[in-house]
Amino acid sequence: MRNYEIMFIVNPNTPEEEIDKINGQIEAVITSGGGTIDKIEKMGKRRLAYEVDKHREGYYVLFVIAANGDIIKECERRLRVMDAIIKYITVRTDEEGRRLEKIRNYRQKRAARRGSNPGAGPSQFSDEAMQ
């Protein structure tokens, strides 16, 4: 299982219920394949940075999920064939998360070391490393 973020843009003219229906479909694909959903965030209407299929606006939806490759493949296929979807992107986040954890651990260790023998190094940085 890996962590992913799927973000897609829905045609801004689609009614709210339709968007919920799309979300439900994607949700069903993920859960039926054995994946879990951490978060569904409707980010709302936003101006697009450039024109996509003559649209200047779009309704952004973000899924934060844990799934495997097959589920992602199926999700992307679904998103591709849906007419209301303008654009989508899938980003893998678990590697980034691991990297972050490593940094955090390292900082914590350093802060702990500084705390145990004061006066060993310059103390001016200690409080910002604490977080």
Partner: protein, 84 residues
């Protein structure tokens, strides 16, 4: 060129170049997320090109992460590829 740092003859305008520091290292920003448009747009000037390191002073590691994030953001129309 090193000559900038050396003293110039009197009469010429003298200026010191401020040492540039990496924003991400200084502020301890660990994640450069593609969804954070406010942060990323600081590094894409008017023409929507990615700001080079020599101007922004970002360190190579963070520039790489920044590049990835900006390119992802472009893909999902959060940031422009070029201004029209």
């Amino acid at each position: 060129m090193k000559s900038v740092k050396e003293k110039r003859p009197a009469g010429q305008k003298q200026y010191y170049r401020r040492k540039k520091v990496c924003k991400f290292c200084v502020e301890r920003i660990d994640v450069i997320n593609y969804k954070d448009v406010k942060l990323l747009s600081q590094f894409v000037p008017e023409r929507a090109k990615i700001m080079p390191r020599r101007i922004s002073g970002v360190c190579s590691r963070h520039q790489r992460l920044l590049n990835d994030a900006i390119k992802k953001a472009r893909n999902i129309a959060l940031l422009p590829f070029a201004t029209e």
